[in-house]
């Protein structure tokens, strides 16, 4: 179940969820998705509740998605980001947390560049905490929306063969997806050079390979991660050109495939690096579908942690 402390429910990590919790969140998301098709895109589920988006690391899409989710549930939303906050004046996370809670918040949605920051927050605040991405640790709502999209497109999760390609080491998206996919009975293959795979990752239940071509023949879903140039400076791989040659979904690789997998990407894409621009255009519907699913899934999560009701 979702973690509970001091009578508040939190979503900190996919590892805290059972398979049934994941599936029920996805079901709940599906009914919330319907709200977006209405002329008045709002339900009164969380009316009178206040949610703060505490985004201490740059983010556009996740913050917008959470904001929209909260507003569609009729919650009041406050945005608190780096740059505008007193954290840039050296205030500690603990003091910021205390201040926010003194203002009577019901939930904190936190994005932070330090792994474990949401866990710490639960000790300091008297309200629900939702992890919107913490360092290299987890990004649970991203994984939930990815599973949602996979299920919508392919009709099932169990037995699905998912290849995740790229910088697994630095990716909280990869970690949450591995946990979630393994829990729902999918098979996960991680595709990267060893220098981008963290120690012990196989113990999470995933297999690994250094060959994208091998993975392409195998997978039902090809999940591409965003690759960052600074990893070159860290000697994780030689150059973007080399990366694209070895691990990019190039036009050549794509057109050679007889059976095309579902291509997914958490965004924003580096066109011409992990995915060729033409291929990106061709598979765009799924990737934008992920974004739409994000709002529905986050509505389901907020509804779940805040125990809202339609009453």
């Amino acid at each position: 179940m979702i973690t509970e402390t001091n009578g508040h429910r939190h979503l900190l990590s996919i590892t805290d969820l059972e398979k049934e919790d994941i599936l029920s969140l996805l079901d709940s998301a599906r009914s919330f998705a319907e709200v977006a098709t209405r002329p008045v895109k709002k339900v009164p589920a969380l009316r009178g509740q206040t949610i703060v988006n505490l985004f201490l690391e740059p983010s556009t899409r996740t913050r917008m998605s959470f904001e929209l989710a909260a507003k569609r549930l009729s919650a009041d939303v406050i945005n608190f980001s780096t740059g505008t906050s007193s954290l840039s004046k050296g205030e500690s996370l603990k003091d910021t947390a205390k201040t926010i809670v003194a203002m009577g918040m019901d939930a904190v949605v936190i994005r932070h560049k330090s792994a474990g920051a949401p866990h710490m927050l639960t000790k300091w605040v008297d309200c629900s905490v939702v992890n919107a991405g913490d360092g290299m640790h987890e990004h649970p709502t991203q994984a939930l929306l990815d599973l949602y999209a996979m299920r919508e497109w392919l009709g099932r999760l169990e037995g699905l063969k998912v290849a995740i390609v790229g910088d697994i080491d630095h990716s909280r998206v990869a970690r949450s997806n591995i946990h979630a996919l393994v829990k729902v009975g999918a098979e996960v293959l991680l595709v990267a050079p060893r220098s981008l795979l963290p120690e012990g990752i196989e113990e999470m239940g995933a297999s690994t390979t250094g060959s994208l071509d091998e993975a392409l023949e195998w997978c039902d879903v090809l999940y591409l991660l965003r690759i960052q140039l600074e990893r070159v400076e860290e000697s994780r791989f030689p150059s973007l050109r080399e990366y694209t040659l070895q691990y990019g979904l190039t036009q050549t690789r794509w057109s050679r495939l007889k059976r095309k997998p579902l291509v997914m990407h958490p965004g924003p894409m580096n066109r011409g690096v992990e995915i060729a621009s033409d291929v990106a255009d061709e598979v765009e519907s799924v990737i934008t579908g992920q974004v739409a699913a994000g709002v529905a899934v986050r509505m389901a999560v907020l509804y779940e942690v805040l125990g809202g009701s339609y009453g």
Binding site: S114, M120, M136, H137, R175, G200, I201
Partner: protein
């Protein structure tokens, strides 16, 4: 003035004799006058120590007292009181202060602060390089000859990157009769690391510190020690691989010793899963395989010393995001209990062997005779003693620590082995597990009636001791 102390009915643990039967120990004039059965008290303060062990006061080779410069974390006053409460008669404090202990003035200042406080000997280790910058050697000769008699030189906290400087430091230290204490870490492998590298760091999304970072450091310094013939002490060994390297070096006859901390032999990396920053230290908590290797190293004698690496920090430095929190945990007041609970009771070491790693072994490595200090319980020797009950159960409560810091990973843990009394230079400085103020601090020693009963003492002594903030 000094009417003496009579410790009654304790089992004496001294070396090389080992643990003996119950006897009385008469202390006066700062010296153990007499050991035997049925000694009459006369005017001496009588301490009932039945069921307890009396051993040489513990010696910690690795403490951070933070003075000068970081007194908000700890200072010689709070740190030496914590040491006394933990049964220590001498602590060697690391030079990563501000300014660094890299010259005789600072060394003497710290040493004298210990003398002023009077709870235990405070013996500074010196920095290997000036300002701990890793560039030019600090005056080891002068520091060795000053009042503080600095014997150990350490780069603790910021390992010497430059192997050439380490080589020269070892050569110079050898000539000066000093020991190099290595904080072994290849920084390029550990930079940014927060915990041991492996499944758990991956699971938690924290940058790892690979065991190889330590092992490369250990290997380098062993090579250089072999080349230079220097005497080398390896601080806080934490991995199975490091231990193998030390074992092989010892077999080849190198002048090398090493230490392990209680947290490294009692806690493992899996415990970090809640992002408890009181489990963050450097070197990090390692795997259960590493712990198994450390336990073997303790029992086969490869590990010479148990040292605390007592590293106090202010609450706000620990109540932070994991990757922003400071490294280090405190350990002076829990050391004995962890040694008893985790090593003696689990059959890893006999009580004699465990206590020797906290007494005679560090005394030998640091050649403590130079301060007229001997780790012994014997007639005619200075009376630096600890009286502890190896069976007493207690629960670790950080709020009761005399250290200014609270950053222990053991809060709430039930442990066995409790320091009851500490005698430093013939004076009772801890009585019934409570610090007492000596005449130097303006408060008279308690009368015999007060001190002789083994019961939780009043809070008055504690209040008088000044708890710090």
């Amino acid at each position: 003035m000094d009417s003496g102390l009579l410790i009654k009915g304790a089992m004496v643990l001294t070396y090389p004799e080992g643990l003996g039967g119950e006897v009385d120990i008469l202390v006066s004039g700062g010296v153990v006058q007499k050991i035997g059965k049925g000694i009459s008290a006369g005017r001496a303060l009588v301490i009932d120590a039945s069921g307890c062990v009396v051993a040489p006061g513990f010696i910690d080779l690795h403490t951070h007292l933070r003075e000068p410069g970081m007194e908000y974390k700890e200072d010689v006053c709070s740190g030496s009181r914590a040491a006394a409460a933990g049964g220590f008669s001498a602590v060697f404090c690391m030079p990563n202060t501000d300014p660094a202990i890299d010259n005789s003035s600072v060394a003497e200042y710290v040493y004298d602060r210990g003398v002023d406080e009077g709870f235990c000997m405070v013996l500074p280790h010196g920095a290997i390089t000036q300002g701990r910058k890793g560039e030019t050697l600090a005056p080891m000769g002068e520091m060795g000859k000053c009042r503080a008699g600095v014997r150990g030189f350490s780069d603790d906290g910021s390992p010497l990157v430059d192997s050439e400087i380490m080589r020269r430091a070892m050569e110079y230290a050898r000539t000066m009769g000093a020991t190099i204490i290595s904080h072994s870490e290849e920084k390029s492998l550990s930079e940014g690391g927060q915990m041991n590298e492996g499944y758990y760091s991956t699971f938690m999304g924290l940058r790892g510190i690979p065991p190889e970072s330590e092992q490369i450091g250990v290997f380098r310094d062993l090579c250089l020690a072999e080349k230079t013939g220097a005497s080398l002490h390896l601080a806080h060994i934490s991995t199975a691989g490091s231990l193998d390297l030390v074992r092989r070096a010892k077999e080849r006859g190198l002048s090398v010793t090493c230490e392990v901390t209680p947290h490294h032999f009692s806690l493992d990396e899996s415990m970090l899963s809640t992002y408890n920053t009181n489990l963050k230290m450097n070197p990090p908590l390692r795997s259960t395989n590493d712990i198994d290797a450390l336990l073997i190293g303790l029992s086969d004698g490869t590990i010479d010393v148990i040292a605390t690496d007592h590293a106090p920090h202010a609450p706000h430095e620990k109540e932070a995001e994991f990757d922003r929190a400071e490294f280090g945990v405190i350990g002076l007041e829990t050391c004995l209990a962890l040694v008893v609970t985790e090593l003696v009771e689990k059959g890893v070491l006999s009580l004699e062997d465990a206590v020797s790693k906290m007494t005679v072994a560090p005394a030998r490595i640091m050649d403590m005779d130079r301060w007229g200090y001997s780790a012994t319980v014997s007639e005619g020797a200075p009376a630096n003693l600890v009286v502890f009950d190896p069976d007493a159960e207690w629960t670790v409560d950080p709020l009761r620590f005399l250290s200014r810091a609270r950053n222990t990973p053991y809060a709430g843990r039930k442990v066995h082995g409790k320091v009851i009394h500490t005698v430093f230079q013939g004076r009772l400085v801890v009585s019934d597990s409570e610090l007492i103020m000596g005449p130097e601090s303006g408060k008279p020693l308690p009368g015999p009636e007060q001190a002789s009963q083994r019961k939780p003492a009043s809070k008055k002594a504690r209040a008088a001791a000044g708890r710090g903030n």
